[in-house]
Every structure is written in structure tokens, then in C-alpha cells.
Amino acid sequence: MNSKGASTSGGDGTRDSSAPRRNSKKPKYSKFTQQELPACKPILTPAWIITSFALVGLVFVPIGLASLSASEQVVEIVDRYDIDCIPEQFQKNQLAYIQNSETNKTCTRNLIVPKKMNSPVYVYYQLDNFYQNHRRYVKSRSDKQLRSTAYEQVTDSCKPEDKANGSAIVPCGLIAWSLFNDTYKFSLDSKVLEVNKKNIAWKSDQDHKFGSDVYPKNFQSGELIGGAKLNASIPLSEQEDLIVWMRTAALPTFRKLYGKIEVDLELNDKITVVIQNNYNTYGFGGKKKLVLSTTTWIGGKNDFLGVAYLTVGGMCLFLAICFVLLYVFKPRTLGDPSYLSWNRNAAGHPS
């Protein structure tokens, strides 16, 4: 307590006067350091709660209705052909039929257009129970090799489909190896319906992911043929079926774009499809379906989005009403200190 006098006694006067200010450790005042920044303090008042629920409800219900109607407008023809396309005598032994290269795989299906389909009509094949998202499968590719000839030998990730007869496979890996190889030929009243197979792949993939100077090499030359063969004279960037296939599906049931029919299909049109049923889904209990579909702004046919929006919107409206009722029947003054726990008994409030 007495030390200040003693310690500053040696110093001269000027230092004395300036010292306290310089040495003061008093924190400088600022709104930030004192934690007093201007701030908004939202509180969930009844008005806010009811408004937000009602607002969500009022936004969601129309969106739901719009989605449902959009989904309604989509015309979709789904035809499962994997069982039906196997001749009677092979029904007991489907695997033998599909693995035998001698058997005739041609199969003819007739489809009736249930509703007018405006062009473009998208042609998909749908595979069920095919785990394109299996860990072993998704990793079995070499993106480097696909892009550039310089990386032709980079096939480590492609095992076991990395090399055949001692040299690298291009494109390597299970994904490319298992390329879907059923083909469809459409005809309407014995007139051929052209299927446009151009521009079915992502432009970005064609431009940057699949090299225009990379040609298939040594592909499907191993003992076990997994699927389609590729024309070795066409660069990968032009092999659109391969590109589509190699964008692996997220879910075990998926569709892949096969092509587009660029004419309108009228109601009750009878479309004949000649299918080359080559692809083996029988070995693992998969299904194959041919899908013709139009699209709208929400994509293909799917009622879920509309139903979900309607449900959530309806719930919110319901909650809004509930809260209105609750506030009417059990009101509470906001910020009434008599509700504080230590005041409750004293003030005689029901707790």
C-alpha cells in the first residue's frame, strides 16, 4: 500500500504524471469486448410461431399440389422383359440361356401408349437389384486412364479387371466391363421409330472426363465377358452408352438413358420393340425393364415429392391451428416475473 511512494520517489516528476496512464491495465471499452454488440434477440412469441407455421403451410401445400399435377402429366410406360424374353424351354435354366452365346436372344415386345406422349420421349432401361453403388464396384475404375492415353497403365484401382493377356485393358475396371448390352429397336405400325442416341451423356463428361484420343483397347478380351463390347475405332468420348453407364447410379434400382424418340406418340399407339436380350441379370436375381417416359419440370413420374410437401404443409397448418387453440385456452403473459420459479409460490401462481 505504501510502495507506490517508495518506488516512484526516485523518478522525476514528468514520468510520474504520465506513468499511471501508460501503465493502466484498464481494459479499453468497446462494445465488442464488453459483449454489448448490437444484436437482434428473437423470441418465439405466439404471433411468430403461428405465422411461421401458417406461412410454411401456405407455401408447401401449393407446391405439393403443383408437384403432384406435374407428376400426373408424366406419361410412363414400364415393361419388365427379363423373364418374358426367355423362351419357354429355358425358363428353368435362365442362366444357361443367357450365358450361351449360340442361343437367339431376340425378343419382341408390344407396348400400348396409354396417353399422348409429347416428344421427346425418353427411352430408359431400368435395372433392379443391381448394386452399382457397391464399394467393390464404384471404385473399380481408373479416371486417369479414361482421360488421357498417358495414363493407360494406371489400372491399379481396376482389379480384378485391370489387365488381360498381360496388357492393360482400356477402359479398365468392373464398371466398364459390365457395360449394359441389351439393344432395343422400336417400330410404330411397322415403321421404324428412330431412337436418337446422341447427347444422352453429360456434355461435361464427354469433354473432360473421357479423352477424345483414348480408344478402347484389349476390352472384353478376357475369359469372362461382362457385357457390351466397344468399337475400338471410336474414342471414349464418343462412346455415349459407356459414359452413361459409368456415371454409377446412387441406388440399387436405377434407370439409364438409352436414347430419345423425337416424335410424339399418340394415344393407343402400338409400339413394337425388338430387344436383343444379352445382359445377364439372372445371375444375381436382377430385373430388367424398358421404360418410355416424358418429363416435366420435376423430372420423371414420382408422386412422392407432392405427397411429402402436402403432408408437411398440412402438418404445419394443423400445428398453427393447435397453437392458436392453445394460446386461446392457456394464455401466458410474456415476461411476467411472477412466473419465475422463485416467485411462483409467493405469488400464488399455478406452477
Binding site: 491495465k25 459483449q35 407446391i63 464399394r135 480384378p160 423430372g299 411429402a308 412466473y339
Partner: protein
């Protein structure tokens, strides 16, 4: 000797001696830095050995031999440390291994390391090499950079310190030459000029003062700002070192941490001279008021006492973190459960499909490209299951949030920043800010249930003021009424100058008259002797200070104990001015007459005797013994056969003084006959030059001579309450915190302070336990318990009433003294005491020793889960501070020992209120929310991954890119939670101070408990379901590819968790806005960047998917559907079951606080300004 003993370390059986006579009356001081080490430090073995040697007396075997002025010889046999110091932990070479080693002490890091290593095995490689190591590397890197920066600063300060210059007697030479500090060796002779810092511990040889006195300021060492006196020995004083040279041998004890102890002897000119703590000056001290001093280095560098005492900050773990570890265990259980589910399902799937897998295009078990057609990457179902298990642990690893640990550290850093910068925790008087010494228990401040407080210096200012005296059984306490008198009375004429004491003390006119006039009366003589005793029986050093008026000088009394200083100022005010002190004599101006007294001997204060004494040779050739000390120790040595009525009257006065809250000292004296004096002198000299057992020998000599005293009187010194203490205690009590006061003071003093600080109130029933045997203790305790039970029976249901204001129960106070505690603590009676004490509203312990303070804290700490806080300012509080969950040191008058041992330090007791009620509350709320949120945030991600795994044939594919998985908790969602953890606040400072009861939220653990955790986890599962299944159902049977869906999920989960956070933010300022919305944008940018790399499988996916309306509708749908249950629950509970905090928030926003305050029970002096909160 136990080396790795748990804290607290046992106190020294034989406390080191310290000149602290003032503490005799009230405190059982035990001052040693040896007590100062809470944590067993590395090398504690060596430490404890050194400690032990300091306790024993010096024996030749473990002495250190220092040849004065012969550093070569000194250093040839032993490896003494050089004077260069090194506080830095690492060098460039050792940084990496040592830093990593230290970082991996955390179990969490080891966990992540193991996971990263597992991931490197080819069979288990879930993530790429880089991605798997990145998060851990990031965390390690951040910490390493922080450590490196800190260490660099230490290196820099070391360099500066080592590069300072001192003047050293050149080897063998005859003159002082400048030398760098780091080159100084033990044995060298060093000359220090005024205001220079002392480079190493050295024994004083001579000083500019003819009597060999040097004054040092030890503020760097222990924070005490007063000057301390050190002496050179007479034998060395006369030698002119640089002219004649110097030779001798010092035999001193090994380096130890006790800064108040030093044992050595010096052989010089064939004579053996003993050296003690007053002959050594320590590194870090500054030489003051002395032109120069010459000394010989005895300890250098890391062996100096200051370096041995620079212990690290204590490391504790907060309550919240302990609970967090419990939930972390739960989450690990969940992680293992999820992994088990996956691996069992994977096993079943493999079993069902085992015939197909050879050829199936997506599995291709058989490797046809190899000649033997072996399996490719397939090791049988058993191994596959095992691998799947390990892989799922790797995939789901962030269930245990690694980033939480680093976030918590950052948040605590931010919280500490705000506490330090808080203007309301700044103490103007001592110019000290709040100090955060422990960084990891900030949130504990919000959960305190017991506060154990010291009294002196904590509740009171420790600025002593002489108030009244009882002399010869007459009470003179009229000083309070009188006005300060003019200067002449107590000023001293020296030459043509007036010297006057720096501080004025009010005097009693009656007593002044008696002193002036009554030279011949017996009363007058006694009164003069009384004040002579006050002026002589001390260790105070008078310093003269210049004033602007050249004719006037101020006398500034410097001493180690505030009580002594107060007494000397009082003596001066009554005309007994201590003018000069040298090692051999003192000069006292007695009522205008300058007299020289020889100080023949001084028996220092120690905590056993609780008194000090001085033997004075008076000018009239008589030898007098003056003793002053605590009443209970003094009445034992006062001759009771004579003056019995005076003794009784004094006892009555003492009782009255202490009832007023004054600190009392009893003063006695005796004239020594010549025979007795000679006896004493030979014994004293023998004892003080003894090499073995000097301390105990001196004590024996003192005890021998301090007997049969005449009572002179008693003094009453007031120790003022600190500002705001009663209000602070009231606030703490309303906050539901029990305040216990543990003091060394007498019971009456303690009770009166208790009243004045509103700890005790008149309606309280006091239960007093003053027992002197175990049986009576047991009985008192049983009575006390019976009483509490009886009261509880009268007012049932009023148990927890300290918080309630309308309590009908009679409050109880338990008052217990140290003697009783001796029989209670650490015996089976502890349990009884615990029952009785916890049933009482207030507990006051008086006359307690430092260890008992710790024992009382332990009493609560070991039996309940309640958080304890100990606050104190002195060395005697160190053990208590270390024992409590949170230790707070008051940086006050009594040095820094308490601060050094504390977790937090501040200037005033009343800061405890904003510290606990405001910062503690905020810290707890923030940290609790942050931990819960981090668990939620990571778990929602893991669950989302888990649902997807169910649709990938249990093969643990993630649709989300590995980079997003890795960056998720580090970048995508890390910043907002840290910002909210630092900045969000539920209530304003004003509200929290106005309603201390709001503190209960932390005490009841309302913001973090198992129930909340489980609720959060349920919400987590729902949100993850929404995130996963809404897109899943919407994209079922579509052409969606994995990368696009993964991007959607990534964005959805990031948006959802940030919206979740946004919904819980209570206070939005621009920083919060920026961090939350910025993080969502940053995530989108990251996803876009990742998808712009052609080598990654997901190239351009985000652009494709963003172009569809479905994507945006799904994001909106996920966010709303995920949030609706939480929002509805929140709205419902906040409105219909509002917590106190919620009501207070509404009050802040809508209520008129001032209008409300009028109807409230007036409770706080922290009155809000007349302004509404906006």
C-alpha cells in the same frame, strides 16, 4: 518419501521461519512456495528430495561448496548450473517428436490416429490416404502452430534474459567488468547498482550502506511490492572486494524452491559465519534505495529459487467435460452398435448371395485374370464381416467429434478473452485485470454451489488501521471521534528539516495527554513503554521520501506485515517515531527526543509461538524484552500473579475489540537482569550460529526468555471490509451459492465480520461448536444435527430455502473453531460435521489452519457432486485454493502465492458476483450448448451415412465424396459453433445481476444432462431420416447418379445443422450472421470446387443437379421437415413450460424491468439504470 503424491502436498512439518510478527494475532501463517505445487510435476522426485533437504538442517554431505571469487574451483567438482536459463520447451530438433508426444496424451487423438492407421491397410481403405489423415493432421497442425508460437516467444524472452549485462569481478582480476547474464558462474562476485535486477541468487558481501543493509523489491518473485531488508555480514562488510580481493568458502544447502528459507555458513579468515534467508538476494529482485551491493553467486540459472518456482499453470478438467466424456462413451457404444449392425447384415447378405458373387458384375469375387482364378480381395465370410466392422468404424468415425476438442479450446480462449477484457472485473486500486490462469475450467464458474472464502484480504481490504488501545486495563478508543491533529505533534526535526510519517492516524486525546504529561506517573510510564514496544518490536524499515517542500520529508514505513506497519504509524502518531533502522540499532524519536536503542536480539515470528519478541538495549543501559503476539499465546506467558485485574480488564477489552471486528494484539514486556541477559545472549549466539537445527534452537531460546511478562496492553487494528462485499455475499446467497467463511481470526472477530458483511443476520440461529475433546465435539455435533432436524420438522418442505426469499424457516449458522476441527476432520466425526454443516445456511470457521481449510473444502468435495470454489489472497489459502474445484486468488496485499496457485485471479471479492453470475453463467450456457450441438452435428451426419449403407449391400459406400466427409466437421460446420460458443448470450449482464437466482440453471445442470442428450439424439435420428429418405424416395427409380445425390445430401446436412444452430441462437449480431450464412456459402463453394476436378468421379455433378427444380424443392423440403418437430417442441415448451431464463429473456425484451423491480423484493444494489433493454 512419496513422490507422486496427490494434491495437496502435505504441508511442511516444520514451517520455515518468516518475519511476520503481525500475523501472530490472527493467522496461522505457513508460507512457503513448497506448498505451491498442486500438480506432481515432472521430476517431482528431485523436487521432493530438495524439499526434504530444506527441511532438515544443513549437513556437510549434501551441502554445496562455493569458493568465493574462485568460480573455476567452485565448478570443478560439481556440475552447477550456469546462469543461462531456458524456459522454452522445445528446440528445433526436438519440437516435432516432443510436441506430438504431448499432443497424443489425449485419448481422442489416439483414437483418430488408430483409425487413420487402420485406413491405411489396403483391405480397409475406405478413404484415400490423404483424406483419412487430413482431419487429424489439421488438428495437430493447429495445436502445433500454437505451441510453436508460444515457444518462440519463450525463446525470445530467454534470449533477452540471457543477454542482459551484469558487472562481474573478472576472474582473478581486480575490477568489475560487464558480463552477459548467461556467462555468470557460481562463485563469481557480482556488483549490482541501484534499480538493477539481480541476475542470480547471491549471498550479500557488502553494500553501499555502512551497516551492510540492502533493500530489495521482490515484486517479480512473489508480487509483494514492499521493500525487504537484506544484510551483508559484518565480517565481509569491511572488505573492499575490488581492491583487496576476496577469498572464502560458502557451504550452503542444495537448490530448493523455498524462497523464504536459506541455510548456509561462510568460512572467512578462518572464522565461521552463519548465513540465513536475510543474507541472500534472489534472482529477479530489484535493488532499491541502495547505491550498490556486492554479492557472490551461489545458485545460478535454473537452480535459482525463482526458476524453481516457475511452475506451470494448474491443469484441471471441468465438470462439463467430465460429463461430456460420459456421453462420448455412449456415442462410442452407438458407434460400435451401428458398426455391428452393418457387419451382421453384411454377413447375412454375403451368405445369401454367396453362389452369385463369383460372377455378379458388381462383386466379381473370382479373379479371372489371374491364372489360378483365386478370389479377388475376398477372405471368406468371417473375415469379410470383421473387415466390414472395422471399415464401418472408419466410415462412422466422426460419431466421436474430433473437432469438438479443438473447438472447446478455441471457445475457452474466446471466453477468457472476454473475461480478461471485462471492464467490470478491473480493479482500479491495484491496477489489475482479471487473470485466467487455467484455461479449461471456464464453464465450471457457472455451476458453483459452495464458495469458501478467506476473510483477511479477501472479504476485507487487508489495509490495517490502528483504532484503539487498551493500556494498563484502560480502554482508549476515543480516536475515532477526534479529528486528525496537526503535523507538529508527530513530526521530527532533523537538522533544518521536518520529517513526518506518511500516513496519519487518529489519536485519542486522553491518551495523548497522558503521554505528554504523565512522565512520572505509573500509568504514564506504562503507556510510554507500550508505544515504545509498538515502535521497537517489529521489523519495519523507515524510508525517507522527498516532498516538493524541501524542508519537509515523509517517512514511509516499509514492512512485510500490514499490521506491523499500522502499529508503527500509530506509535508515530502518538509521538514515538521510528526514524532509522540498521542491523544493529534503531533510532526512535520519543516525544521530540531522539534516542538510540540497540537491537540485541530478535526472535522472529513463527506459527507455533504466534508471537515475536525483541531484546533492546535502552539508552539508560537497561535491557528490555518486548513481546507482542496473539492473545491466546500471550496470556500463556504473562505473569498472572500480579496485576490480575489489569489482565482481566484487558481480556474484557480484547473481547470487545474483536466483537467490533478488530484484529487484536497483546503486548508485554520484561526487564532482563544482567545475569539473565548474559545467559540469554550466549544461548542466542550459539543458536544463531549453529549449523544443525538452528531454527529449533532459536525457537527454544525464544521460548525460554519469553516468560513471566508484564502486560502492557493490547491494540485493536481495523481491517476494513472491501467495497461491495455485503452486496456480493447477498447476491451469491440468492444465487443459491452457500458461502462459507474460513478464517484464522478469533471467533468474536469472525462473527462480527460475519455480521458486517451480512453473512450472519440477526434472525439467524447460531450453533457454536467450541470443543476441546473428541467426545464433546461429537456431542456438539449431535446436538447441532438434532437442532437442524427439529427445525426441518417444524417447517417441512422448506429444505432448499436459501434461494427462496419467502422462506419461513429460521436460518441456521454454524460457527466452529479450529480446535474443534482438529478432533473432527479426518475422523469418523467428519460425516456428522458434513450433515450439520450442509443443513445450515451459513458456516463460519474461525482459527483454522491452512490445512484445515483444505480439509473443509475436501469435506464437501468428497461427499457431494457440488462444485466448490475457494477464494483467498494469502499463502495460507493456497491449500484450500488447490483443493477446490475452482480456485480464485485475490491479487491483494499479501503477495502472490494465492494467485500463483489459483485458476483465476482478480482484484476484489465483489468481482466474484459478475464472474460467477455473468461470465460463469454465460460460459456454462455456451459450452453446454456447444457440446450438445457438436454431438448432434456429427451424429446426424453419421446416421445419414448409415441409412445409405443399408442400400449399398452393406458395403459402406458413401455417396458423399470423401473430401466432403473429411471437411464436414472441420470446415463446413466448425466456425458457427465456435462463434456461437464465444458470442451468444442468453441474458444481458443486467438481468443476470438483477436476478441472481438465474444462476441456478447451471447448478441444476439444466443445459447439459443425459435427458437433453437423449432428446437431442432422438431429434438427430429424425433429422437424419429426413435428410436421407426425402431425396431417396424422390429419386427412387430415376437416373440419379451417386455423386449428384451425394452433393444434395452434403448440402442438405450442412444447411440443416446450420439452421438448427440458427434456431437456437439467442442473440444475432453481425458476426453470428456472417459465420452461419457464410458457412453455408462456403460449403456450397467447396462442393462446387470438388465437383470441378475432372479426376474425381463426381465431376460436374453439382452443376447438373443444381439445374433441376427438384433439387431445390428437396433442399427446402428437407430443411422444413427436419426442423418442424424441433421447432414445435421448442415453441411449445418455451411458451407453456418456460424456464426462468426464458422468462427473463422475455422480460428483457417486453417487460419493463424497472416497473417490475418495484414490486419485487428489493434485493440487489446492482440496480439497473433507468432504461429499458432493447
Amino acid at each position: 518419501m512419496d513422490h507422486d503424491r496427490p494434491s495437496p502436498p502435505p504441508l511442511l512439518p516444520e514451517p520455515p521461519i518468516r518475519l511476520d510478527p503481525a500475523a501472530r494475532s490472527t493467522r496461522v501463517d505457513l508460507i512457503s512456495f513448497a506448498v505451491d505445487s498442486p500438480v506432481p510435476r515432472r521430476g517431482s522426485r528431485a523436487d521432493s528430495e530438495r524439499l526434504a533437504t530444506s527441511q532438515k538442517e544443513l549437513s556437510d554431505d549434501d551441502a554445496r561448496l562455493v569458493y568465493i571469487n574462485d568460480p573455476a574451483k567452485t565448478n570443478e567438482r560439481f556440475e552447477f548450473a550456469g546462469n543461462s536459463i531456458r524456459t522454452a520447451k522445445y528446440s528445433i530438433l526436438t519440437f516435432l517428436p516432443r510436441n506430438l508426444f504431448e499432443q497424443f496424451h489425449r485419448v481422442a487423438y489416439v483414437y483418430f490416429l488408430v483409425i487413420a492407421i487402420l485406413n491405411q491397410l489396403p483391405q480397409l481403405a475406405v478413404f484415400g490416404r490423404g483424406a483419412s489423415v487430413l482431419p487429424l493432421a489439421f488438428v495437430l497442425l493447429v495445436t502445433a502452430v500454437k505451441d510453436a508460437y508460444e515457444d518462440w516467444r519463450r525463446h525470445r524472452s530467454d534470449r533477452i534474459e540471457n543477454g542482459r549485462v551484469a558487472s562481474v569481478l573478472a576472474d582473478g582480476g581486480r575490477q568489475f567488468q560487464p558480463m552477459l547474464w548467461k556467462d555468470i558462474r557460481v562463485g563469481e562476485i557480482i556488483k549490482i547498482a541501484a534499480n538493477e535486477t539481480i541476475p542470480c541468487d547471491m549471498v550479500l558481501l557488502s553494500t553501499s550502506d555502512s551497516t551492510g543493509v540492502a533493500y530489495v523489491q521482490t515484486i517479480n518473485l512473489d508480487g509483494e511490492s514492499n521493500l525487504k531488508t537484506r544484510y551483508a555480514k559484518q565480517e565481509t562488510l569491511s572488505k573492499s572486494v575490488d581492491k583487496e580481493g576476496f577469498a572464502g568458502l560458502i557451504r550452503c544447502e542444495r537448490p530448493n524452491r523455498n524462497i523464504y528459507g536459506f541455510h548456509a555458513n561462510m568460512e572467512i579468515d578462518g572464522k565461521k559465519v552463519s548465513l540465513g534467508p536475510s543474507n541472500i538476494v534472489l534472482r529477479g529482485c530489484e535493488l532499491k534505495n541502495t547505491a550498490w551491493a556486492v554479492g557472490v553467486a551461489v545458485y545460478a540459472g535454473r537452480e535459482t529459487k525463482v526458476m524453481l518456482n516457475s511452475s506451470g499453470t494448474p491443469s484441471k478438467r471441468s465438470r462439463l467435460e467430465t460429463h461430456m466424456n460420459r456421453e462420448t462413451l455412449l456415442l462410442s457404444g452407438l458407434l460400435i452398435a451401428l458398426s455391428s449392425v452393418v457387419c451382421v447384415l453384411a454377413g447375412i447378405w454375403l451368405g445369401n448371395h454367396k453362389d452369385e458373387l463369383d460372377y455378379s458384375p458388381y462383386f466379381r469375387k473370382r479373379n479371372f485374370s489371374s491364372d489360378d482364378e483365386k478370389y479377388y480381395n475376398y477372405y471368406g465370410i468371417g473375415m469379410q464381416i470383421f473387415f466390414t466392422f472395422l471399415m464401418s468404424v472408419i466410415v462412422f468415425q466422426i460419431m466421436i467429434p474430433i473437432s469438438l476438442y479443438i473447438s472447446m479450446e478455441l471457445v475457452r480462449l474466446g471466453q477468457a478473452y472476454f473475461m480478461i477484457r471485462d471492464a467490470s472485473l478491473y480493479d482500479e486500486a491495484s491496477n489489475s485485470r482479471f487473470q485466467c490462469r487455467a484455461l479449461n475450467i471456464n464453464e465450471d464458474l457457472g455451476q458453483i454451489k459452495y464458495v469458501f472464502s478467506d476473510k483477511t484480504g479477501t472479504l476485507t481490504e487487508n489495509k490495517m488501521e490502528f483504532q484503539c488501545a487498551s493500556i494498563q486495563g484502560v480502554d482508549y478508543s476515543g480516536g475515532k471521534a477526534s479529528s486528525p491533529r496537526d503535523w507538529e505533534v508527530c513530526s521530527v526535526v532533523v537538522g533544518n528539516q521536518f520529517w513526518r510519517p506518511k500516513l496519519l492516524v487518529k489519536t485519542d486525546p486522553e491518551l495523548v495527554r497522558l503521554l505528554r504529561s504523565g512522565r512520572e506517573t505509573r500509568e504514564g510510564m506504562r503507556a510510554r513503554e507500550f508505544f515504545l514496544a509498538l515502535a521497537a518490536c517489529n521489523t519495519i524499515v523507515p524510508l525517507t521520501v522527498e516532498t516538493p517542500d524541501p524542508k519537509q520529508k515523509l517517512i514511509d514505513y516499509q514492512g512485510e506485515s500490514p499490521d506491523e506497519v499500522a502499529l508503527v504509524y500509530a506509535a508515530a502518531a502518538y509521538g514515538f517515531v521510528l526514524v532509522e533502522r540498521t542491523s544493529g540499532h534503531i533510532v526512535i524519536d520519543v516525544l521530540g527526543e531522539r534516542l538510540r536503542f540497540d537491537v540485541l536480539g530478535l526472535h522472529e515470528f513463527d506459527s507455533d509461538r504466534k508471537r515475536m519478541s525483541v531484546i533492546i538495549g535502552c539508552p539508560d543501559k537497561t535491557v528490555k524484552l518486548f513481546v507482542k503476539g496473539a492473545d491466546n499465546s500471550m496470556f500463556g506467558v504473562i505473569e498472572r500473579s500480579i496485576n490480575l485485574d489489569i489482565i482481566h480488564a484487558t481480556e474484557t477489552h480484547l473481547h470487545a475489540y474483536s466483537s467490533l471486528g478488530l484484529r487484536t494484539l497483546v503486548i508485554g514486556m520484561r526487564e532482563l537482569g544482567s545475569a539473565e541477559f548474559i545467559d540469554w545472549q550466549s544461548a542466542y549466539e550459539k543458536a544463531s550460529t549453529a549449523l544443525m537445527g538452528r531454527g529449533s534452537l532459536l525457537r527454544a531460546v525464544a521460548a525460554n526468555v519469553e516468560c513471566n511478562l508484564h502486560i502492557l496492553g493490547a491494540s485493536g487494528i481495523e481491517d476494513k471490509l472491501q467495497r461491495g462485499v455485503p452486496e456480493a455475499i447477498e447476491s451469491l446467497r440468492q444465487a443459491g451459492i452457500k458461502v462459507w467463511v474460513l478464517t484464522g481470526d478469533k471467533q468474536e472477530t469472525a462473527i462480527s465480520i460475519g455480521y458486517s458483511c451480512r453473512l450472519l443476520t440477526s434472525e439467524m440461529t447460531q450453533i457454536v461448536i467450541n470443543s476441546h475433546s473428541k467426545d464433546s465435539c461429537r456431542k456438539s455435533l449431535e446436538d447441532a444435527i438434532a437442532m437442524t432436524n427439529k427445525l426441518a420438522a417444524i417447517f417441512p418442505g422448506a429444505q432448499n430455502t436459501i434461494t427462496g426469499t419467502g422462506s419461513p424457516r429460521i436460518p441456521l449458522a454454524l460457527i466452529i473453531d479450529g480446535t474443534s476441527l482438529v478432533y473432527i476432520l479426518e475422523t469418523e466425526l467428519e460425516e456428522e460435521l458434513f450433515k450439520a454443516a450442509t443443513a445450515c445456511d451459513v458456516v463460519l470457521c474461525c482459527r483454522v489452519a491452512p490445512l484445515q481449510k483444505a480439509g473443509i473444502v475436501a469435506l464437501i468435495k468428497n461427499r457431494t457432486d457440488d462444485m466448490t470454489l475457494a477464494i483467498g489472497d494469502g499463502a495460507n489459502d493456497v491449500s484450500m485454493i488447490q483443493m477446490a474445484d475452482v480456485g480464485v486468488g485475490i491479487s491483494g496485499q499479501e503477495g502472490r502465492q494465492a494467485v500463483m496457485a489459483s485458476d483465476f485471479a482478480m482484484g476484489q471479492f465483489r468481482f466474484l458476483v459478475p464472474l460467477l453470475l455473468v461470465h460463469g453463467h454465460w460460459n456454462y450456457q455456451r459450452m453446454a450448448y456447444m457440446i450438445l450441438y457438436n454431438f448432434y452435428r456429427n451424429a446426424v451426419f453419421v446416421f445419414m451415412l448409415f441409412w445409405y449403407v443399408l442400400y449399398t449391400a452393406f458395403s459402406l459406400t458413401t455417396a458423399i465424396t470423401e473430401w466432403s466427409s473429411v471437411l464436414y466437421s472441420v470446415i463446413y460446420t466448425a466456425l458457427p459453433t465456435i462463434v456461437v460458443g464465444i458470442l451468444d448470450k442468453d441474458l444481458s449482464r443486467k438481468t443476470l445481476l438483477k436476478y441472481p437466482q438465474l444462476y441456478g440453471s447451471g447448478q441444476r445442470e439444466e443445459r447439459y444432462n443425459l435427458k437433453l442428450f437423449i432428446l437431442t439424439m432422438m431429434d438427430t435420428v429424425w433429422q437424419s431420416l429426413a435428410i436421407f429418405f426425402i431425396p431417396f424416395l424422390a429419386y427412387r427409380h430415376s437416373t440419379i447418379d451417386g455423386s449428384s445425390l451425394g452433393d444434395l445430401w452434403t448440402l442438405a446436412v450442412v444447411i440443416l445443422v446450420n439452421i438448427h444452430l440458427a434456431m437456437d441462437v439467442l442473440r444475432w449480431n453481425w458476426i453470428t450472421h456472417a459465420s452461419i450464412w457464410g458457412c453455408i456459402v462456403a460449403t456450397a463453394i467447396c462442393v462446387i470446387i470438388i465437383d470441378s476436378m475432372p479426376v474425381l468421379a463426381g465431376y460436374w455433378a453439382i452443376y447438373h443437379v443444381m439445374g433441376t427444380g427438384l433439387f431445390w424443392l428437396l433442399l427446402l423440403g428437407i430443411t422444413v421437415a427436419g426442423m418442424v418437430p424441433r421447432f414445435a417442441m421448442k415453441a411449445f415448451t418455451e411458451y407453456f413450460f418456460p424456464s426462468d431464463i426464458q422468462i427473463a429473456r422475455e422480460l428483457e425484451k417486453f417487460g419493463n424491468l424497472d416497473a417490475v423491480a418495484a414490486s419485487e423484493i428489493p434485493m440487489s444494489t446492482f440496480s439497473p439504470r433507468h432504461r429499458r433493454f432493447i
